[in-house]
């Protein structure tokens, strides 16, 4: 313990850029990273320059400018390696992995994340180990290997606990819950989402809180605890409204629709699903899931043709998003419709 931990903090461009990135203010973040790179280069702070380049690359990924992002990340890696800045280099490798993942180059991406883990372990950079493991989990999940995804997310939780990075652990618990829900391990999924909610509330991380509350609805509905499901949906709506997250609001409304349908209140279910579609207009996986719920509702109403139409819309959207698991589920629903009709 030392008194000197309280040294006054002067925010640098790099730190401010990071804050803006966290808030999703990409333009401001890009500008600050660019300024940080210039000043770091002029002052000869090589590691900081590499970090600034890596930050710029991350922003470019968000803007789906992958080639430029790759150029900057590669340059960042190059500079860091030449300067002997191993940590910076390891983080650049991780960012390169994210770029490859965004470009759907799974094999290279996975190799880069593995390399990042090894480099990070050499450095004792537990946070980076966790980030790279989590990224590897995302790849496994995307490829439909849910058990591998679950193992990788667990690894990332181990690292985040070790490094004390609660915010990253929060994402890992959410991902773990999603993978477990897909494995239909409902009790476990509920535990993971609950754990995420605890951390999100402690950190006042409202954006993720909205998602976690919404995600928790599914296991609770499957377990049959409809009252708790209703409560978590309310939580999701509150948090989504606070941060104006239309996607999370759409998810919450989707679960409301399902709850109403399960209770046999088709009129209310119809109302919720229409609202969900109205707020979740972007071509996202969440919208595809709302369309799936619409299909389920129509199927329960005995409107087979309308159900199939909704499933097909959902399938088309899921396919465009490379959500193979979702496509398989929709194919099964459509087959079942035909089978029942026959």
């Amino acid at each position: 313990m030392s008194l000197y931990a309280e040294a006054p903090f002067v925010p640098t461009d790099l730190a401010q850029a990071g804050e803006q990135e966290q808030l999703g203010h990409w333009t401001a973040a890009a500008r600050l990273y660019s300024r940080a790179f210039r000043s770091a280069t002029l002052d000869g702070r090589v590691e900081e320059a590499a970090d600034a380049l890596r930050g710029q690359a991350r922003v470019l990924i968000r803007e789906e400018r992958y080639e430029e992002a790759e150029e900057l990340a590669t340059l960042s890696l190059e500079i860091a390696q030449r300067a002997g800045a191993r940590q910076s280099a390891a983080r650049a490798v991780n960012v390169l992995g994210i770029i490859r993942h965004s470009q759907r180059d799974w094999a290279t991406s996975r190799d880069l994340f593995r390399r990042a883990v090894e480099l990070a372990l050499d450095l004792g950079d537990d946070e980076l180990v966790g980030l790279a493991c989590q990224n590897a989990g995302v790849i496994a999940y995307g490829l439909g290997d849910l058990r591998e995804a679950r193992a990788a997310y667990l690894e990332s939780i181990g690292s985040f606990v070790r490094s004390g990075s609660s915010e990253n652990a929060l994402h890992a618990y959410n991902n773990l819950g999603i993978a477990s829900a897909d494995l239909r391990e409902w009790l476990e999924a509920d535990v993971y989402f609950s754990r995420g909610i605890e951390i999100a509330e402690r950190l006042s991380h409202t954006p993720l809180l909205a998602k976690l509350y919404g995600n928790r609805a599914e296991p609770l509905i499957e377990i049959g605890d409809l009252e708790a499901a209703e409560a978590t949906i309310e939580g999701a709506e509150r948090a989504a409204a606070a941060v104006n997250d239309r996607v999370a609001l759409g998810v919450a409304l989707r679960w409301r629709a399902k709850l109403a349908r399960l209770r046999g209140d088709f009129a209310r279910a119809e109302e919720h699903v229409e609202r969900a579609l109205a707020v979740s207009t972007d071509p996202t996986l969440e919208r595809a899931e709302i369309l799936l719920e619409l299909g389920d509702l129509r199927a329960h109403q005995g409107r087979t043709d309308a159900a199939e139409a909704a499933y097909l819309l959902s399938r088309e959207l899921s396919h465009s998003l490379n959500a193979d698991g979702q496509v398989r589920e929709l194919d099964a629903r459509i087959w079942e419709l035909h089978h029942q009709a026959a």
């Binding site: 008194l3 309280e6 006054p8 372990l121 050499d122 493991c133 690292s159 606990v161 494995l183």
Partner: protein, 556 residues
């Protein structure tokens, strides 16, 4: 200068750093103090207002080591001076820099030093609380993470999957490069799961074996802190620091969990604690897998034994059915010829020959009964006895059965009587089988009664109309009681008599195969009812045949 304002600023500050800033602002405005500096014990500037490096290093070091407050000249040329206010040993010193004559009597500034020391102490206490809170939070996070691992590990019985999961989680939670899970089997140790290895898993890891033998955590350290560890396999893996913990459960050691670092690393008690917990998870997985394997093997054995038993039972049934049938045909033939001979079809026979022939005929009939009983039993046990159920009157069956048994009763001079008969609902059952049961009961009663009589009575139980009194759509019972005044049956024998080929002492002398009652009970149960006995030695026996009736059957 009135120090009250400066003291107020110090007390309002959140810690030494902000106190320096607040104090510096006040003193620069009111007291002409150029710089307010907080020095660490080594003379390094921890905080300064308004910034810069106002003290030469040697002056700063001397000031930080000062034991008493004092004013010292700063620099001969400028004429500036410093006021040094020592704080607690770990907190360094507060130094004010001003022009010559700024500070006057050092004692005047004592409250300032005291206040600053107090803020530093408060901050230290606060930091300690923060540190403890962070430690508790980290412990809680670790517990939660271990709980989460347990949940995931419990999802599978595949030991490879669980152990690999444990190894992977151990690697990240302990920040290690590689982890191996090693189990003991037949005196040697082998690696059953690993993550992060560069080469093949070792065939036999002596370090893991030592940990398992020691049954306690052991560490491996490279020489000089950064060199290779003295274990060839782990040296090849690049281990600088290693930790091994035993895998143990319920006092049994299964093997060892080995954790390897390829960088210099200070193992902390936390690492050992977590490793032991994780080893516990691995031990549970191994134990579960072993139990599951043993259980699966046992289940397989039982299934095999069951299959053999089933085959044997079927073979026995087939044998009895076949043999009974094959025996019956010649026996009927023998009986037929005996009857012809006794009837004198081939001429008169001598009295002695007739006597022998009658004995032969009785024995043949007994043998035929036995064969018929065995055939019935084998059919019942094979589930091949077909029932022909129809509504029937119990009184009629009782009378028919009585008529069959009357010659025997007359020969033994035993009265067989029917007690006043209550109105009974029609019974939907197989009349032939009920008759078979009653004849068996009556013939037993007559055979075992030397004096007295045999009585038949009937009753409705559950009124025959009480809903729920019987299963399978039946709503009550009809009971027929066959009571005798025979020797009675001892309590310990009352169940035995219903077992195949079991006859109580003395019963064989009265004839019979020992199959009549077992068959009767099985038939009664096949008909949805039961056959029971109440008896007391010396006071006769009462056999009760109970059959189900429905409340919609008409009463007759």
């Amino acid at each position: 200068m009135d120090l009250r304002d400066a003291l107020l600023r110090i007390y309002e500050s959140s810690g030494p750093g902000t106190a320096v800033r607040s104090l510096g602002v006040v003193l620069s405005e009111c007291a002409g103090v150029g710089h307010t500096v907080w020095l660490a014990p080594d003379g390094a500037v921890a905080a300064v207002w308004p910034g810069g490096e106002p003290l030469p290093p040697e002056v700063a070091q001397a000031a930080a080591r000062a034991e008493h407050p004092g004013v010292r000249p700063l620099d001969g040329d400028t004429g500036g001076e410093t006021l040094v206010l020592p704080l607690a040993e770990d907190d360094g010193a507060l130094v004010l820099v001003g022009a010559a004559g700024t500070f006057g009597d050092p004692a005047h500034w004592d409250p300032l030093g005291a206040a600053f020391a107090r803020v530093a102490a408060q901050h230290r206490a606060y930091a300690q609380v923060e540190e403890e809170r962070d430690l508790l939070r980290q412990r809680a996070e670790e517990s939660e993470a271990l709980h989460v691992l347990g949940l995931a590990a419990n999802r599978t019985l595949d030991p490879d999957e669980v152990l690999t999961l444990v190894a992977r989680f151990t690697r990240t939670l302990l920040g290690a490069h590689y982890v191996t899970v090693n189990t003991l089997a037949e005196g040697s140790i082998r690696t059953v799961a690993a993550v992060g290895l560069r080469a093949q898993a070792p065939a036999d890891d002596p370090f893991a074996a030592r940990v398992a033998a020691a049954r306690k955590p052991l560490t491996l350290q490279g020489d000089g802190g950064g060199g290779a560890v003295p274990e060839p396999y782990h040296t090849a893996e690049g281990m600088r620091v290693g930790l091994g913990v035993p895998l143990a459960l319920f006092g049994e050691t299964f093997g060892a969990l080995v954790i390897g670092y390829r960088r210099p690393y200070d193992l902390a008690p936390r690492d050992t604690r977590l490793a032991l917990t994780l080893a516990g998870h691995a031990a549970v997985a191994i134990s579960n897998a072993r139990l599951h394997g043993a259980l699966a093997e046992r289940t397989h054995e039982l299934e095999r034994a069951n299959e053999e038993l089933r085959w044997t039972t079927e073979a026995k049934d087939r044998f009895f059915a076949s043999m009974s049938h094959e025996l019956r045909t010649p026996l009927n033939s023998v009986l037929g010829y005996q009857s012809l001979l006794l009837e004198g079809v081939v001429g008169q026979i001598e009295p002695q020959a007739r006597s022998f022939l009658e004995r032969a005929q009785r024995s043949t009939r007994n043998l035929l009964h036995l064969v018929n009983d065995v055939l019935d039993l084998s059919k019942i046990e094979a589930g091949k006895l077909e029932l022909v159920n129809a509504p029937m009157r119990m009184r009629a069956i009782v009378e028919e059965s009585l008529a069959t048994i009357e010659p025997l009763a007359a020969a033994r001079q035993i009265a067989v009587e029917i007690e006043p008969w209550p109105p009974l609902p029609a019974v939907h059952t197989d009349a032939d089988r009920v008759r078979q049961i009653l004849i068996n009961l009556l013939s037993n009663a007559v055979k075992f009664t030397d004096h007295g009589r045999v009585t038949l009575s009937a009753a409705i139980v559950g009124d025959g109309h009480a809903a729920g009194a019987a299963a399978d759509g039946a709503h009550g019972w009809v009971e027929v009681h066959v009571a005798d005044t025979g020797p009675g049956i001892a309590p310990e024998n009352q169940e035995r008599i219903f077992h195949e080929f079991e006859q109580i002492v003395g019963a064989t002398a009265r004839g019979g195969t020992g199959l009549g009652l077992p068959i009767s009970r099985k038939l009664a149960r096949l008909l949805g009812g039961d056959l029971t006995v109440r008896s007391e030695l010396g006071h006769g026996s009462v056999f009760t045949l109970r059959l189900p009736v429905r409340n919609d059957e008409p009463v007759r």
